[in-house]
């Protein structure tokens, strides 16, 4: 199973993990690495590295909050350095992406999982005004 590290500014990682836990149950092989005020980029990188190493398995998906932010940049550095592990890295993590990543690991390997999570994240940003415009309903002949 692909191991997942969630990193981001402030308590974004532990926060989104608590939300994922509420809807999907407590997931195995997922570690949140918070980047809190006063911590150095170097310490964050070490913490991401430690999280990756704490996860068993060769395949790791790192979910970061903002592209170009320090958590994302440090995760990129970890990916560069830890060539022994197969690491993919996404930015722009939101609830739909995190849920998809945690939930689809049963069937998907790292590359597919990365695509699924990215797609779910994009699809999950929805304008309420556009909801319910699709009136089509799946029908079953001779069914209910």
């Amino acid at each position: 199973m692909v191991g997942i590290v969630i990193t981001g500014h402030g308590h974004f990682p532990s926060g989104i993990l608590s939300a994922v836990e509420l809807v999907a149950g407590k997931p195995d092989q997922v570690i949140g690495v918070d980047f809190e005020a006063g911590h150095s980029a170097h310490a964050l990188k070490e913490a991401i590295m430690a999280a990756v190493e704490a996860l068993g398995g060769d395949e790791i998906l790192i979910l970061a909050d903002l592209v170009g932010g320090t958590p994302f940049n440090m995760a990129a550095a970890v990916k560069q350095e830890l060539t022994s592990r197969n690491i993919r890295l996404l930015a722009g993590t939101n609830m739909p992406a995190a849920i998809e990543a945690v939930f689809s690991r049963v069937n998907a390997g790292l590359d597919e999982l990365t695509e699924l999570a990215a797609a779910a994240g994009s699809r999950g940003v929805v304008d309420f005004e556009h909801l319910g415009q699709d009136k089509e309903q799946l029908r079953f002949e001779d069914g209910i």
Partner: protein, 163 residues
């Protein structure tokens, strides 16, 4: 023809974040929301449809209508039924919806209710309905809140609270 009911869940919030994952985990192609109020409320229906893939048929039936039509389900339909309360579950089962096991997901806290897990609180009316489901209709219960993962709720034995 007995309808293929893959799972039957009591959830005070009907289909929401957790429900969405249940549908995915179960791999069903039909969801019946058996609830009188939701069956007449386009807003609730819109919100519930929003979290479910378009490849899944969503049906919003009253409790009575569910009982009336359930036996007419197509053999191609694999069905997840969700209702709001233990009392509605009893009406559905007594009304002929053929299930053996019920997943008790969310029953929220309220005055006079006893909390038995972080997701389930039982009042006298819940207990009476669950007891009748068990004793008269032979229903067994499970209390997993989420479709996968350890949510800490799965280990609760509901039966302990029904005597």
């Amino acid at each position: 023809m007995v309808p293929n009911i893959v799972a039957f869940r009591i959830d005070e919030r009907l289909i929401h974040g957790q429900g969405q994952l249940w549908i995915k985990a179960l791999g069903v192609n039909t969801v019946i929301v058996a609830n009188d109020s939701a069956s007449e409320d386009p807003m609730q229906q819109t919100l519930m449809k929003a979290v479910v893939s378009k490849s899944v048929a969503m049906r919003f039936f009253s409790v009575q209508h569910t009982c009336d039509v359930i036996m007419k389900a197509s053999p191609k339909q694999s069905i997840f039924i969700v209702c709001k309360t233990a009392e509605d579950a009893l009406k559905l089962v007594a009304g002929g919806v053929p299930v053996k096991e019920i997943n008790v997901g969310n029953i929220h806290r309220g005055p006079g209710k006893v909390e038995i897990s972080k997701y389930i609180a039982l009042g006298p009316e819940d207990k009476a309905a669950l007891k009748e489901l068990r004793d008269k209709h032979g229903i067994t219960f499970n209390t997993r809140a989420t479709a996968s993962g350890d949510d800490g709720a799965a280990k609760v034995d509901l039966n302990k609270y029904l005597d």
